[in-house]
Symmetry: C2
Subunit: 524 residues, 2 copies
């Protein structure tokens, strides 16, 4: 939001001048006029329209009289109209809650917000129950094409959400009935399944969704069990491969309001990249390989207790020190741990610039299984599984392909608009993964450019963060629309030039070492 001071809440308590002979505006219009002047930006003469459900309209005159022409109003937006959702007794303030939803393919994260104070009441995450049908988008879309497949997938997520709503409300002594606003940010396929929209064409040329901007829906129509009058904003997408979670993330980062050019990267199976400033935005998405999501290495997994998220290798002794989440006995490694590990192996000389084991780790740690070299990171006696936690040459090869793809995508998007890495004022890293990654390590393996580390800014769950913004400021709807309309989506052409860049990036940190002056390798 450009004018921070003009940020306004969706909850407005208004005190009306009671009607008189000289001031005979009707009850409904009297209330709406007061709300309009509250919502209007200072000095603006914009025309604000407020719609009301007919059932609510009927009750308002009686309530206004009972409450001496005062009312606490819950509003939201539905395309060009604001919507008056509920009026409540201003003298007996009932809770008014909003629910932000990050609708991930794997995890769904909820944040419950008190809309009076805009403070977080509770947060909760759960596995997307659609995993039982298919682990990824492709499998689920194929499943949706079976008889009842779509409605089964839709039921899974809606029922999962309803259960989670009960749990999150239970955790803070709240009532689902007090939830009036939802903001849901997810990738295009997930939001389609969430709305029960046929995802068939998302994965088929020319890859178009049913809808880009679903707008605001009635939660009743979606089957979500919160207040029956509640409305859900579904974040718009730009296409099948650039979803509402990213639009939400861009808003959360503030990239769209930055004077100087910055970049936002969301790394997962896909790397989604947005480059720009307040005047222009360009985006692309490309397969970065699953290595970074912990989906490929034998010991790879999502972050969680006992998962290794940090690795330090002494360049002289080659001694490996690990950090596991909650200091639990190690069980596996997540993306950020893997990057740390690869960076340590490389800078200590245990792997070479091609990412191959050099043998300097010592024979005791390197073993061969089925003709593939494995390095023991945690011996069996120290692991939860009772087995050695190892990284194989295959794992490293896969990681290097991923990091090379990422770097190539970053090179491609910046050069497409003639921006050099050094022109970037900030490098935002979105996603849980982004919060844990150490920029030094990612730079050491040449996954991200060799910028001063203070330019890197982890955003955490930016998709959830943007959803919270939409619940807590009336200005966000316009902002979301503006971001959506402003983005130029660049189709990544995997052509000869891309492949050349990719090949050059398949070395540690890069064939062109001058691009990574800060990376120091132990030469013993």
């Amino acid at each position: 939001m450009t004018n921070k001071e003009e940020k306004k809440s969706w909850v407005q308590t208004v005190s009306l001048t009671p009607p008189a002979l000289q001031d005979n505006t009707a009850d409904i219009d009297r209330l709406l006029e007061a709300l309009k002047s509250r919502l209007r930006t200072k000095g603006s003469d914009e025309n604000i329209f407020i719609e009301i459900d007919f059932d609510l309209l009927k009750t308002i005159p009686g309530l206004l009289r009972k409450w001496n022409y005062k009312a606490c109003c819950v509003l939201f937006k539905n395309r060009g109209n604001c919507v008056l959702i509920k009026v409540l007794d201003p003298d007996k303030p009932a809770p008014i809650l909003g629910l932000a939803v990050d609708l991930g393919t794997t995890r769904v994260v909820l944040r419950l917000i008190d809309l009076y104070t805009n403070k977080v009441k509770s947060e909760l995450a759960f596995d997307n129950p659609q995993i039982s049908v298919g682990p990824d988008i492709l499998a689920r879309i194929h499943f949706a094409e079976q008889e009842d497949g779509l409605s089964r997938l839709n039921n899974l997520i809606i029922e999962g959400l309803n259960k989670a709503v009960l749990r999150i409300c239970g955790s803070c002594n709240s009532d689902p009935e007090d939830i009036y606003l939802l903001a849901v940010a997810g990738n295009t396929a997930m939001t389609h399944l969430f709305m029960g929209l046929d995802p068939h064409w998302i994965i088929r040329e020319p890859y178009i969704p049913v809808v880009n901007s679903p707008g605001t829906l009635k939660t009743k129509d979606l089957g979500i069990k919160v207040n029956p009058s509640a409305r859900a904003l579904i974040f718009p997408n730009i296409g099948s491969y650039f979803g509402g979670d990213l639009i939400s993330g861009i808003m959360f980062s503030g990239l769209n309001e930055s004077e100087d050019t910055a970049i936002l990267v969301d790394v997962g199976t896909n790397a989604e990249v947005v480059l720009g400033n307040k005047n222009w935005l360009i985006a692309c998405a490309g397969a970065a390989g699953p290595a970074l999501e912990g989906g490929v290495t034998k010991m790879g997994m999502m972050a969680g207790p006992g998962v290794i998220d940090g690795v330090f290798i002494d360049p002289v002794t080659k001694n490996i020190t690990i950090h596991s989440i909650d200091d639990k006995k190690p069980i596996g490694i997540c993306g950020s741990g893997l990057i740390d590990l690869a960076a340590g192996l490389f800078t200590s000389g245990m792997i070479d610039i091609r990412g191959k084991f050099t043998g300097s780790a010592g024979n005791s740690c390197l073993t061969e299984k089925n003709g593939i070299m494995h390095l023991v990171i945690v011996p069996s006696k120290d692991s939860t599984t009772g087995e050695d936690l190892t990284i194989s040459q295959t794992d490293l090869d896969s990681l290097i392909r991923s990091k090379a793809a990422m770097y190539t995508i970053l090179e491609t998007i910046t050069s497409s608009v003639g921006v050099g890495f050094s022109d970037l004022c900030r490098f935002y890293v979105a996603g849980t993964f982004g919060s844990f990654i150490k920029p030094e390590s990612a730079i050491a393996i040449g996954m991200i450019p060799d910028l001063p580390v203070e330019k890197y800014k982890p955003l955490g769950n930016s998709s959830l963060g943007g959803a919270v913004m939409a619940l807590t400021s009336t200005l966000c709807f316009d902002e979301i629309e503006k971001i959506r309309n402003q983005i130029t989506y660049m189709e990544l052409n995997v052509n000869q030039e891309f492949m050349n860049l990719f090949s050059a990036a398949k070395f540690l940190p890069h064939t062109d070492l001058s691009l990574f002056p800060s990376v120091k390798i132990n030469q013993d």
Copy 2:
């Protein structure tokens, strides 16, 4: 509408460019973009928002593919949003109908419109079934305060309308399912009862309605049996005594777009008057007495077969010639007939400037009943009732009070803004009554100012006419809102000055004869 050429239909058939890799807008957004560019005014960059019901949204991708990315769309408006109501097969054009409703206290008139051609398919009128509960607004509002009173009144009109919808559709071989748009114009109390809104406060100080601008409602919510997706625009009111029927009438007259100042008069039990031009509008309403509605004289009645609507009196022979509707045997007299009669009596010298019988009618025609003089207009042998049709001194006194009230209201509103009658470029007379009135007669009794008769323009059912406009042009919603916001409503203060003007107007045509130079009286 200022730019007649920009008038657009709510029915739009669009042919979309099918999606391609380079043009991957989603199905819904592709359709909405095409519709937006259709609705947009030439050269304007206005932001148009289109909402869709979620159920309809789900069906669109399948339909677009089936119809090769062509669709016939029915749109309407809901406050700031346009609404996509229905998509239909463009190659098998199904009927698309709109229903304009003039919701009168006494009569309800329907006009069924073909929305492709904007031509009238059928018209039908029926008595407002609420008459069974109470003849006028006051009686009905009191009835609404009884237990179930409001819902009974609401049911009466909704069921009455539903029956009429079946009849009007039957009359032209149409199906109520093909009605997608309704526009309903009525006075404030009637629209409240129509929507089932409590009218209690309309008749109690400070006389405020529940709502001024109800906007567009779902016909389902109102209980109207047409297409389940249909929407009804309820014309907004300005207050308890200035209803949507008048807003509709103003739009129909074009007063709001006139360069020169004009006046619009709707005469009934209340006289509603609007004065202004495209820059300003001022309105007032005042009791003109029921004499003009045919409610007072013994033989007075609404226009219908056999009702006398024209009277000519030979100034020399005093011979009375009547015209009855459909040339049927006379049964009574309507307002326009009564004005003709009074004008004839006066100009032939049968009544004096106070409106009293002079006796020059001859003894054969003048009789005395209960001490009150009566003039036989139609002898018993020629009337349907088998009784003499007469006009009494009481009837004439009542008519004179009504005409004096009307003239005084006209004087008051024009002088309040310093406009003389001669400044008026046009004098619109609304209502069925207005269509039949002879300006010469109304001038002769001093009911309306002595302007050249060509300045008088009867509008017919202007309330219905405005409702039809809203169904047939996308520009009308803004126009209606503009009219509503532009009107200054002037409370008529019945103070000493008003009473002085009223007293002066209680003569035929007026105490100040110089105001009526064209009125010639037979001096024999």
